[in-house]
Assembly symmetry: C2
Amino acid sequence: MNIGEIAKRAGVSRSTVSYALSGKRPVAEATAKRINDVITELGYRPNASARALAEGRTRTLGLVIPPAGARLTGAQLGFVAGVVEAAAAHDLDVLVSPSGGGHDRSFERIVSGRRVDGVILMEILLDDPRVSRLEESGLPFVTIGHVEHPGASWWVDVDYAALIRRCVHHLADLGHEEVVLINRSPELVASGYGPAARSTAGFLEAAEQRGVRAHVVTCPDEPGAGFACFEDIRTRLPGVTGLVTINEAALPGLQRALHRAELEVPRDFSITGVIADHLAEDFHPPLTAADVPAGEMARLALELLLEQIGNPGATPRHALLMPAVTLRSSTGARRR
Amino acid sequence: MNIGEIAKRAGVSRSTVSYALSGKRPVAEATAKRINDVITELGYRPNASARALAEGRTRTLGLVIPPAGARLTGAQLGFVAGVVEAAAAHDLDVLVSPSGGGHDRSFERIVSGRRVDGVILMEILLDDPRVSRLEESGLPFVTIGHVEHPGASWWVDVDYAALIRRCVHHLADLGHEEVVLINRSPELVASGYGPAARSTAGFLEAAEQRGVRAHVVTCPDEPGAGFACFEDIRTRLPGVTGLVTINEAALPGLQRALHRAELEVPRDFSITGVIADHLAEDFHPPLTAADVPAGEMARLALELLLEQIGNPGATPRHALLMPAVTLRSSTGARRR
DNA sequence: CCTTCCGGTCGAACCGGTTCGATCCGCGCG
DNA sequence: CGCGCGGATCGAACCGGTTCGACCGGAAGG
């Protein structure tokens, strides 16, 4: 079941079998046919470990996901699925490693055991120890999201600050004078999660520029939190007529709270933000929002990673995506 | 950066370094310290491929997920996260492979390239070609879900038929005389997806036993499908007062349809089924339902897999879980 | 006092591939 | 006719670990 056995049965040397398989040197047609016949007859596949050892590369890449304890959000799931699919299209395997949950042995194994040719990292913090660790390891990697001072590194991200600014401008254009941002969970915000911080910055900046009153609240990722959060907003900030959010998990609760408060969207209340298309369309009414194109980001990240692996020393590249804010039915003129 | 370098700097042979690392033979304390010092100084980690080649095992397991094209459902996500987490706890890495989406090269690489020590397969069909392929490969594997005639094989599953029967009995006890099962998507049902088929069987069986009229409908996994599906039920089957479902994706649409129809749950309408706890509690009102304990199933599957890898030839085991139907607030006596 | 045993170490073989250099052979060209 | 070239193939080295058998010296036992 190894290459020697194939060679013996085909009456050639091991190296000839190897060359027949890889095509890196010419092999006589008759010989190649004999070898191929034996291979298909025995169902032989080269041992991946042996090949990796000899070639010095594993044809595998690492995908570091948030600690498995926390339930993955829809967007995170989109990244995982996207990376796995894109990798499969390139005949690469994906090794998934949870990190941050205390047991970082998995992460360490991946970066220092030459198990993978490169790494894709997601859910990046403004100051992320995993990024520093990878930098010093010399392993090629791409981040989905970016640290505060990315310097010369490889990453793809969505321009949350700009998108949220647009959302605020959109609401201001419609006459809204007091708006609120529903951010991600308090823990995530406190840990310095990039999108949360950049959204807040963009939100406050645009609000100041347009002279609208602005509030920022956090909302846990639990079911029902969106409900409580909105009730709280209605009582504490009764003047708010527009809402911007990047918190997808809050949507179902939000929907219920709107019903409960008997607010009609967009007549009584406007909602917008950065929300994956399929969720935005699942809302009632469909949300005017910017998409998080997880699949495209994953593909892009993989592309950058392959380029980096292909020619080490290439100058780092990045992509800051700015999806359109799709007008649907959840924003309207402020009711006087 | 390899074991020879370490050996040289510590002034010992390569084998001694290996033994110091693995502890498989005694090493003098002084020598061990010298070796360890060199290792930590250089930040050395053994090359995973070389180790795998020599040991004949990879300390990696494969997780075969549905084709990445289709969006993963919440339950599937739970399995993935659960397996990854459980594997990390055992210091195992997880190689994720999408299968069924045409490009099955990934699946084939995993089963025949000695890349993994075992495989966990999910989303099993009643007659699943991947199961046959794995059987003939001789690679240890465990399925989450089970084929129609599992024979002697390793699997874990939830007893959908029994749980759905219970749900029907529960509704019948409350006086409901006409009930409907909202199944998974038509394509999934047509492909012979296990839970879909077994739920239908259990549903019809219990309904006949209790003499209640029973209908089965399918519902696509798209957003909004749950809405259309329920509207359809209201017009085509006006006598229905109780609903059983295993379709988690349909819930948001269902929720909206109930509002729209101005039906109050459980006064006007009862809902139950097999739904992951967190989604059941996110519904309004919280659903009386049986949990799909994805995390526990994943842990169990891993445990079985490790047992199988540990002693090949062991007699196959399986686990058919029967989570309780948790009484919440979505079922009540039929209104006359 | 000699054997036995065992802790500690080393060298070599092995896992299953890839790749380099060398050999052999037939053909075209000067 | 001799030489060079290039296609086809082989043998050996190498990738970086693990493991087996052997060796050495000192302590325990007869």
